[in-house]
């Protein structure tokens, strides 16, 4: 049995990718765009962060690149690239389902398949293996053990209240929510729904890319399909948290705690049962047995501007 502080720290660190991705889901869906692509955006963020870190590692005296003599800046450039790649994926989703007005769910599924193909294709080209990358320069850990987290984790903890503040206490956040509830009404007040949705998708993509980077930075390596459904679980957390950043983060903490419990009690409880708890909870929430979740009114409906 580990020390309680270690369990709390472990849960928090497991929650980071979920929290970032579910914030991404909240931002996108509050603006009225379904974002099933979170899974794929995370995967691309994870890969790009690793590959760019690798590319930025300085070449050592013996002519080989290695994590050991890496400059401290390489992982930071990688992180920025991962976030940017996520934002670009978000914009691609926007082109398909805002500009062309194609089905948002199908676009998301296609982007997930695309992300799997692109990351494996590029991983083979860069690292000569489709299954995993080389180990790259690590990010520093900030804080006192066991609460020593990557900077991404600290950023994620700050982003939860920040995104809440943005959505509920700023004009831009009000506009974002307005186009998700009633785009025509927002349009008549001079808020351009499609432009707002594009910005929301770029922001959402950046957050999901950061969430993916959190996964690969944690182990300083990219592994094939390393998101393993976390994007979908983040969507579930977003629904369980009723499309609210604080609620979504709380649901993510619960999911992470159940994941941590599986590791802790492997031999005492049925691991498969514990594993399916988050999914069963989401089904119960969606079915209205545990509180009623209300989706944004215009969610999934493309908006055709009259001008």
């Amino acid at each position: 049995m580990s020390h309680p502080a270690e369990i709390i720290a472990g849960t928090l660190s497991l929650a980071v990718p979920y929290v970032l991705a579910s914030l991404a889901g909240v931002v996108s869906e509050r603006s009225g765009v379904v974002n099933i692509a979170l899974e794929g955006i995370m995967l691309v963020g994870a890969f790009v962060a690793t590959a760019v870190t690798f590319a930025c590692e300085p070449v050592g005296a013996e002519g080989v690149r290695s994590a050991a003599n890496a400059g401290f800046y390489a992982p930071w450039i990688g992180l920025a690239a991962g976030v940017a790649a996520g934002a670009l994926m978000g914009l691609l989703h926007g082109v398909v389902c805002i500009k062309v007005r194609a089905n948002q769910i199908i676009s998301g599924v296609a982007l997930n398949i695309l992300a799997m193909g692109v990351t494996q294709f590029a991983c083979t080209l860069v690292f000569n293996s489709s299954s995993n990358s080389a180990v790259v320069a690590p990010m520093p850990r900030w804080g006192i053990r066991p609460f020593a987290f990557t900077p991404i984790a600290w950023l994620a903890f700050l982003l939860v209240p920040a995104v809440w503040f943005f959505l509920y206490r700023t004009v831009a956040g009000l506009r974002l929510r307005a186009v998700g509830e009633h785009p025509a009404a927002a349009d008549s007040l001079g808020v351009r729904p499609n432009r707002t949705r594009f910005k929301a998708l770029a922001f959402s993509g950046a957050l999901a890319g950061l969430g993916g980077a959190a996964l690969s930075v944690e182990v300083s390596q990219f592994v094939q399909n390393m998101t393993a459904g976390r994007g979908y679980i983040a969507l579930a957390a977003m629904i369980a948290g009723k499309w609210n950043p604080l609620g979504a983060a709380a649901a993510c903490l619960f999911f992470a705690a159940s994941e941590r419990a599986q590791i802790a009690f492997q031999d005492r409880i049925n691991p498969q049962l514990a594993q399916s708890l988050p999914y069963l909870l989401t089904i119960l929430v969606l079915a209205g047995f545990v509180g009623r979740a209300r989706a944004p009114e215009a969610l999934g409906k493309p908006y055709e501007a009259s001008r």
Partner: protein, 375 residues
Amino acid sequence: MIRFLKDALVRSIAPALALGAAALLGLLIVAVVGHNPFAVVRNLLSAATQAHGLRDDIAYVLLYATPLIFTGLSVAVAFRAGLFNIGGMGQIMVGSILCGWAGWKLAALPAILAIPACIALAALGGALWGAIAGALKAWRGSHEVIITIMLNFCAIAVTDSLANGTWKAKEGMTPQLPAIGQSARLPRLGARAADAPPPEAGDPPLMGIGLFPKHVQVNASLFLALLAAAGMHVFLFRTVRGYELRAVGHNPEAARAAGISVKRVTITAMAISGALAGLAATDLVMGTKYNYRQDDAMSYARAAFIGIAVSLMGQNHPGGIILAALLFGAMERMGLLLNDVPKDIVLILQAAVILFVICGNELFSRMLARKAATT
């Protein structure tokens, strides 16, 4: 007949353009990563047509297309009812484990009983998993997309606990069920070569169709898939229930006003969709692997997701779905023959096809609407 052909032609414009665009994208990617696209295509063609190559290629394409016909039909029947079944993976897993269980437990039965029982359980397992999502949608208004995604994860947990627990095969470390009995195995289409050694007891049964080589696992489930496509065509376009399903898909409010029970249609559509996905087990368990393996989860997921692409490419039409499944089967085969660039380019192109088809359909229908408005 002329109208049917014209209709088919109009429907195939967007998929054909999407295919062309994806092919161009593929050549572009090949060029960007530093290869001569024409040399890559030439190498691919020579790999495909070397000695016995073409005969093998056809058999492999049919092998890869078989599960895609099932998953494509599964997605399409839900689409026709206005539902998006993204839970093919879970439905295949539940269908497969029940199918594998039946084949293992009923090994003593003769083939004429064992094979129908296994097929029925594969369909039943998938139907059950699909119907849960349908029922929650009909009675509680829960969105089927998130529910089916969650049911995918639940299916992994349930099958994992069975394949690791009470149903686990004694031999081997990996979670899997014992092999299904000889009588539950679907025969391969191929014929034995004239100079081959005499068959042994463990050899798979063969149908002896000379066109197919023995070593390719393409099997009788292909006929079942074609039968399912024909059945779906009759159901959708020649029966009242099928008409009701399509009516709900077009306009649920109008269907309700016309006295159709939208709830009943939603549940049955999801059950049929799940059953079709579950039937993919006939190929995966009864035709190729001969047992249920938990480690195949990724290939189940892939069959389910590519099924979405197949359904879109086939424009939700049974005939189109067969053609689209053959096309995607050919893409899989192409990936295995590629030597110059990583084979994952196939996944990129399959995703690109989906994006191009949905954009093409949308832009094309808008163009038609504009034309209709101006004339």
